[in-house]
């Protein structure tokens, strides 16, 4: 994940308080081995990125029928 938060100071304005982060950010999250990389879905809303990574079908638990 990579992104940039632009600095929003307008010209000719004095800064009274600065607490918000601005600049580049970068974050890596390790995923389990059995994630299906083809089926990762990401949405972005209200400043939050929401990434759904599902397990591969083959690695899901399944019921074994006894014959």
């Amino acid at each position: 994940m990579k992104g940039k938060i632009p600095s929003q100071q307008e010209e000719e304005s004095g800064q009274i308080q600065r607490e918000r982060f601005s600049g580049d950010f970068h974050r890596i999250v390790n995923l389990p081995d059995d994630i299906d990389a083809e089926k990762v879905v990401a949405t972005y809303q209200n400043g939050v990125i929401h990434i759904i990574a599902r397990r591969r079908e083959s690695s899901k638990p399944r019921q074994i029928t006894i014959q």
């Binding site: 000719e12 009274i16 809303q45 400043g47």
Partner: protein, 131 residues
């Protein structure tokens, strides 16, 4: 800033007494001043327009936003970097600011508010007449 107390913002302590709930946090803000007034930017990720409440009462401007992040059913938080559920912060406006004319916008989880100075505090150009 040549005249600090003329300008903005002392945060009101009253609303921030020892946390009522550990899930209430103060959003980070940037505050800028220009000739026309002040601009406040607040980070409110996860807060939608509907879940955000801004009020002015007796020169106290309060921001109150609920974080709504839908988690799929049966999913629990494995890595709790985002556990905040409530943002709250309030500011006392100085006399020269006009609390009745606050404009607020919310985009990508960032609240931007402009609070103009009262007209009598706005810079004015004086016309010189030639006689």
């Amino acid at each position: 800033m040549n005249n600090e107390n003329m300008t903005v913002e002392q945060e009101s302590r009253t609303q921030q007494k020892p946390k009522a709930s550990p899930r209430v946090v103060r959003p980070n803000v940037d505050i800028f001043e220009d000739k026309s007034g002040i601009t406040v930017l607040a980070d409110l990720p996860g807060v939608s327009k509907e879940a955000l409440d801004i009020q002015i009462d007796n020169e106290i401007l309060s921001i109150d936003g609920r974080v709504e992040i839908p988690l799929p059913e049966g999913v629990s938080e494995e890595y709790g970097g985002f556990r905040t559920s409530h943002y709250q912060r309030s500011f006392t406006l100085s006399q020269e600011l006009d609390g009745s004319k606050v404009e607020a916008k919310l985009k990508d989880g960032i609240l931007s508010m402009h609070i103009p100075k009262r007209e009598e505090f706005q810079p004015r150009k004086i016309e010189i007449r030639v006689e």
